[in-house]
Symmetry: C2
Subunit: 323 residues, 2 copies
Amino acid sequence: MPRPGRIGEFELIHRYFAPLARDFAGAGGLKSDNAFLPADPRHDLVVKTDTIVSGVHFLADEKPGVVAAKALRVCLSDLAAGGGVPYAYQLSLSLDRGWSERWVAAFARGLAADQRRYGIALSGGDTVVSPGPLTITITAFGRVARGKGLGRGGAKAGDELWVTGTIGDGALGLLVAQGKLEGPALEKRYRLPQPRTTLGPKLVGIAAATADVSDGLLADAGHIAEASRLAVHIERDHVPLSVAARRVIAADASLWASVLGGGDDYELVIAVPPSRRTRLLAAARDTGVKATHIGQFFRGQGVQLTIDGVPARATRKGYVHFF
Amino acid sequence: MPRPGRIGEFELIHRYFAPLARDFAGAGGLKSDNAFLPADPRHDLVVKTDTIVSGVHFLADEKPGVVAAKALRVCLSDLAAGGGVPYAYQLSLSLDRGWSERWVAAFARGLAADQRRYGIALSGGDTVVSPGPLTITITAFGRVARGKGLGRGGAKAGDELWVTGTIGDGALGLLVAQGKLEGPALEKRYRLPQPRTTLGPKLVGIAAATADVSDGLLADAGHIAEASRLAVHIERDHVPLSVAARRVIAADASLWASVLGGGDDYELVIAVPPSRRTRLLAAARDTGVKATHIGQFFRGQGVQLTIDGVPARATRKGYVHFF
């Protein structure tokens, strides 16, 4: 929660960092998840930097292999949203003073396993020891056809809003990990994101705009709407839930707030023109990913939520990583 | 100082991270300062990641604009060693819990000033708040002619060892900042590196191998020797000193250890075939940089130091960032 007198991450970026990126076309005004850098004649590099801090973005007692996977996968999720095929990554590892070689070895094994899984390689990095908590920054590079990278800003009024997989498991899984809820499947989902790396590159030429669900469904759909200068409508009862999520919500409907407002799903939200719906469904089927139509973009601004057709109050505030 | 039972940064990289980079040609086995990624048809991207932590790599009460400059410039120094022209950078800012908007505004102004100075732009990044100290990771991109990037591994027996500017001011400046020594010019040099960004790109086609002096002259010359599978000889009395450094050493000769073993000079050490010495001097003159011949590479291994021609004991240990 923002403290009084403090501004949030997006406002901080808008005020202080977006001006620094004004002259760099590939930065897109820092409004999308990714930066795009020209690569070889036929490709751009999709570039994403993400920092995770022990005790903030993952549990302080998390296993090193899981930390490694999480650090890499949160970036791969953004690359997928950008349409990028994983390529290489830079790793900054800031170890806490109690680090052990055993921990680093297990962390490196986790990275190696994910490198094989996602076809990505370490290109360089830095290692330091800090008095603070374990902090990992990864800058990941993907490849996408020149000029074809996907961002948040391309949706048009009339485009449909689709989402992959199921929503809410990440936020509910955090509650499980904190002992506030029961559901091992949810907890696993929180701890170990499954980025949509196979579907993402296939969305090039199909999606008008994309984002990954890291801040929360309402927030991330709202980011697309805002970057596209549109409003977006979401019907809550169309939002796809896992069996486990459905069960806990049946017992406590107030958990909908976590489902819609929480983050860490690492699914994709996708703006698609109705004329390309069939191609979206084919791409989803080919990659074994469920895709669900949950709403629509229209002229205006903001996020409008309905519950079984009845307007509900929606705020785009969710689980805000930043504070 | 490494603690008992702990391994150092280089060993950690060698054991655990170099295997992760084995299949990525541009990583060079993590033996050089930089990674190289194919960019447009005529260029590679030179990529460097560096992390600096408050109270470890810069003084905890340092001015925000100076912190910004240091974070960026330590990377630019590596890009210069790689022959890269500054192009863009990703910024990860991990703020401590006491952060203020005023601090961030001043930090951003510092970045803006250096962007103009070095012709580089922000391409993207991440901002988080952490319970730990302020930590900044920059991944900087430079551009170099395709396949022409400079690394540590290209020196041949008989190549000369040259160094730019003056050596030791960084380490002596740290002692000044810590109140152990007097010398405002030295302190400024420690706080605000002056990377050799104009000379670096001109070394392409001239230098056989390069590194920047960040770990210390003996260590960094040793890195070139090791990567090139050679030994290197350095004559201490040829090492160029600033007027301020000469003055403090005249008063206390034991400070030579800091000059040779300390880091943070952000000069370049360069291996040059004798046949290209004239071209090196011309490039140095054209960019207003002093270049000094301080030693030679030869068959064997290790770093050999002489003092006025008399062999001295040299260890490559210097100020080791890592611990």
